[in-house]
């Protein structure tokens, strides 16, 4: 580019900097000071220890703030803050509160800043936060195993039964899979928004879910098209399709693991145990889904193990993350990615179904397919009763 060209590009930029500088220096001309101090203190994690509570906090407001008082269950309490009581913007701190908490009781912790702004953190049913040790690690891993790998493997066991079906029936089972996945997509997205809402508002948790979902969807589609052009393939191999599904479902199961792990670490153990049974029943159908594309081929046992592992093992990872290092913003991102992966699988299967029926000059939304799709949605809907309260 010639010198003149560069200058024409720079002129708007220089003017923009000038305007911003003017506004920063002189204000917008409407309001000088906010009516009330704006202070945003976030409680990221409450760790329950033998001696009390350990809070991780961050200042995500526009100005520095000072933590001046702490109340636990409507009682002013002693505390210490590290590194110091005044947190700069985006600075993180730890608050230690020695408190004789009661197992299973709810506890409310209020942090009050110098300007009287109150930030509240709540423990629904207080219990010791699991320490990161070997036995806890194994226990949580076991939960993930029961929720992820076991039901999916059980679902895959229907494979020989489904194998006896004709092409039309196989297609209706694929339609059923689309129903299952649609339910999972909506559920994952909703969970993502729920967790995202808990993240500090400056990070915009909901947008993280949407960014995660849309980018994952487009990346997978793009990668796909690139692969197909490179290998000059017409579409997915059945195993490739099953693998894709296992990956999407795996990311979804990571979210389920997250939910279970964090519910245990937040003290809702009774709920957590029930969740395990519920998710296990719920997830059996995911195995059926993964097995469906394979009906036209001859998979081997190790293929099943691989698929079960890919779809189920992330639940173990999720449980660990949920129990030991849970943070809403990461949860939102993972669930967003999960939702994106699932919608991509829905897209691929639907396209394949439509193509297959077009080749055979049949309507793609046949009564059989519609029934399969409906049953898929309904199975998920009713088995979800076990995990919704």
């Amino acid at each position: 580019m010639k010198g003149k060209g560069i200058i024409t590009g720079l002129i708007p930029l220089i003017i923009l900097i000038g305007v911003l500088g003017f506004v920063l220096k002189n204000g917008a001309g409407v309001e000088k000071d906010p009516a009330a101090p704006i202070e945003v203190l976030n409680i990221e994690r409450i760790k329950v220890t033998n001696t009390g509570f350990e809070l991780s906090v961050s200042n995500t407001g526009p100005t520095p703030l000072t933590i001046s008082q702490v109340m636990v269950n409507d009682s002013v309490w002693n505390y210490s803050v590290s590194p110091q009581a005044t947190l700069e913007r985006f600075e993180e701190g730890k608050i230690n509160i020695a408190y004789p908490w009661v197992e299973g009781d709810p506890h409310t912790i209020k942090l009050i800043t110098e300007n009287g702004i109150i930030t509240e953190g709540a423990l629904a049913a207080t219990t010791l936060t699991p320490e990161t040790n070997r036995s806890n690690f194994l226990n949580y891993g076991l939960i993930g195993f029961y929720v992820g790998i076991v039901p999916i493997t059980l679902g895959l066991l229907w494979y020989p039964f489904m194998k006896r079906f004709s092409r039309k029936w196989i297609n209706s089972i694929l339609a059923l899979t689309v129903g299952l996945l649609l339910f999972l997509f909506v559920g994952t997205l909703a969970d993502g928004f729920e967790i995202g809402a808990e993240a500090p508002s400056v990070f915009q948790g909901n947008m993280i879910v949407i960014i995660g979902a849309s980018l994952t969807f487009l990346l997978l589609i793009g990668f796909d098209q690139y692969q197909q052009r490179k290998q000059e393939k017409k579409g997915y191999s059945p195993f490739g399709m099953a693998l894709l599904m296992a990956t999407g479902i795996g990311l979804h199961n990571f979210g389920e693991g997250l939910a279970i792990g964090s519910s245990f670490s937040l003290g809702e153990a009774a709920l957590g145990t029930f969740l395990i049974i519920g998710f296990t029943l719920h997830n059996i159908t995911e195995g059926i889904g993964i097995a469906a594309p394979l009906l036209k081929t001859t998979p081997r046992l190790k293929d099943f193990l691989l698929l079960g592992g890919i779809a189920g093992a992330p639940a173990i990872l999720g449980t660990w993350v949920g129990a030991f290092i849970f943070s809403p913003i990461w949860g939102a991102l993972f669930l967003g990615i999960g939702a994106g992966a699932i919608i991509q699988v829905i897209y691929v299967i639907t396209k394949m179904l439509i193509d297959d029926h077009r080749t055979h000059r049949e309507p793609s939304v046949s009564w059989l397919n519609l029934s399969g799709f409906t049953i898929g949605l309904l199975i998920m809907y009713f088995t979800a009763f076990f995990v919704k309260f």
Binding site: A125, T127, V150, T273, R300, F304
Partner: protein, 338 residues
């Protein structure tokens, strides 16, 4: 169908066994897991290891601005500028200025208050029954305010008229009846104007003086920081745990007289409980009212009375609101008898 057999029946059985093992494991999970399904009361281990010792919350030996205000209001009485009228009557003139002021109500917590003469509660006005009183009120605040005195006086001196920012007004009336009165702003919205800090004690001494005593002024109040209609802090003389970290020093067997009033907003009642001793309580500060010999009294909003007590033993005596929640949110202190 030969292709199908690549997954052999034996393989299927293997997978089935794994699955069945998993399901069984799920149901036995409760037993092997360390997570309780039933919530239990703490077993004491957390108490043994806790560094928390009894009544050690809010230890703060520093004398902050807020503490100094509460301490000053405890023993400071405003007798006004005293002159004699030609008829021999005593004239007391007081200057009262409404000021918007940030008050420290607990260590490090600022409250945007509306004050009489810059403190919450306002000054404790004191006079003798029969005195002529003139309160020169100047409103330097941002809102209209007034002073409504309890007692007997002409209705036009009752403080129902708003005095606007920048305006002045003189309330003039004779001090009667003797006893403990209160005063507060009576501009709408009432709850907001009172809660913001516009109130105080107003003592009318009887003509025949009371027995000499060590006299203390205590106004029970509360502060709602987030404006949700519930107080975050409960205090006496406006500062949380003031007399806990700096106990009120008293001599053994000395007569102590406490002028106690309740100006807590948003809660129906407040109370006063004294440990290890009994006191005589005179409702509204009247000797002719039926008095009580007790260790706990309660007052509804605007209620007040005089507590008289002697301490027969040396040592520290706790006093606090007997609503435990109020006590733990700041309304708690000590007498130190020596």
């Amino acid at each position: 169908m030969s292709e199908e057999n690549k997954v052999s029946r034996r393989d299927i059985l293997k997978m089935g066994t794994a699955g069945a093992f998993g399901v069984a494991g799920t149901y036995y999970f409760n037993k092997m897991a360390q997570f309780p399904t039933v919530a239990k009361a703490a077993n004491g281990s957390s108490h043994k290891t806790s560094h928390h010792s009894n009544h050690s919350n809010m230890i703060d030996k520093t004398k902050t601005t807020g503490y100094k205000m509460a301490e000053r209001l405890l023993t400071e009485f405003d007798y006004g500028k005293v002159t004699k009228l030609p008829n021999g009557q005593t004239l007391r003139e007081y200057e009262v200025v409404a000021i918007d002021k940030e008050i420290e109500i607990a260590k490090g917590i600022k409250f945007p208050g509306w004050t009489y003469n810059g403190t919450i509660p306002g000054p404790t006005f004191r006079c003798t029954e029969g005195d002529l009183l003139r309160f020169h009120f100047i409103n330097k605040g941002s809102h209209p305010h007034s002073i409504h005195f309890h007692g007997i006086h002409p209705p036009e001196m009752d403080g129902l008229t708003s005095i606007f920012p920048g305006q002045k007004f003189t309330y003039e009336f004779e001090a009667k009846p003797y006893g403990l009165q209160i005063y507060h702003c009576h501009v709408l919205p009432l709850a907001r104007h009172i809660h913001k800090g516009l109130y105080g004690n107003f003592i009318i001494d009887p003509k025949k003086p009371r027995e000499p005593a060590f006299e203390l002024n205590m106004v029970m109040n509360g502060f709602d920081l987030d404006l949700d209609g519930a107080n975050e802090f409960y205090t006496v003389n406006g500062y949380a745990f003031a007399f806990m970290n700096h106990p009120i020093k008293i001599k053994k067997d000395q007569l102590v007289r406490i002028y106690l009033s309740n100006l807590t907003e948003f809660d129906l009642l407040n109370s006063f409980h004294l440990h290890a001793n009994y006191f005589t309580y005179y409702p509204t500060g009247r000797n002719d009212n039926p008095s009580q010999f007790t260790d706990t009294i309660m007052q509804c909003q605007g209620e007040r009375g005089i507590i008289e007590v002697r301490f027969p033993y040396a040592g520290t005596y706790m006093f606090h609101a007997h609503v435990s929640e109020f006590a733990e949110l700041g309304w708690m202190g000590f007498f130190e008898v020596e």
